[in-house]
Symmetry: C2
Subunit: 122 residues, 2 copies
């Protein structure tokens, strides 16, 4: 049912945690399942995402997509990070079952919310 | 949104894992969110549940309820374990938000499935 990459990022999630004094924080909720996700971004003076961490109460698919999404946005500019869609994340994970696609939206939305938070502060 | 006990069992889940040569194994799926759960029981010759472990791809509420449910059935007889309903588990956790109640059903159903599996084998 789940690809090897999904199981890898679920059992060994990357970038779980918080960033103190983060440049931007995004918190989103999933209307379909009631789960929540928070993303922390550390963005340097050149607009490069130096670090990215996440916390979630969501399911294995939410954990795996957030783990992969944080890996994908690290080292990127804000413009590049905005192009890391949930479609790109799902492809990087070799796919997700249709019933779990809504879980993968949490990471994309939380990253966008954190980038908005950063933009509003600067 | 979540009680302290839910957050405790979510961040430090008890009894995660598998039991080799388990007396009974129950696997159930959640139609609402597509998540899966597996419970392993080790039952001795007097019908006492000596050990109980679980694995799930489910969300934080599924993890917390399974963690609490496995704690509650350990040391119990089969008859007593059948009375560990998801309502009892939710009460032991000081409640869950209504949107997450369906997640708590996974643990109850998986324990019942594992007890059936044991009964069929004996
Ligand atoms: S079911 Fe809620 S995030 Fe997957």
């Amino acid at each position: 049912m789940y690809s090897e990459k999904v199981m890898d990022h679920f059992t060994n999630p990357r970038n779980v945690g918080e960033i103190e004094n983060a440049s931007g924080i995004g918190t989103v909720g999933n209307a379909k399942c009631g789960d929540i996700m928070r993303i922390y971004l550390d963005i340097d003076e050149n607009g490069i995402i130096k670090d990215c961490k996440f916390k979630t109460f969501g399911c294995g698919a939410a954990v795996a997509t957030s783990s992969m999404a944080t890996e994908l946005v690290k080292g990127k500019t804000i413009e590049e990070a905005l192009k890391v869609t949930n479609k790109a994340v799902m492809e990087a994970l070799d796919g997700l079952p249709p019933v779990k696609v809504h879980c993968s939206l949490l990471a994309e939305e939380a990253i966008h919310a954190a980038l908005w938070d950063y933009a509003e502060k600067n």
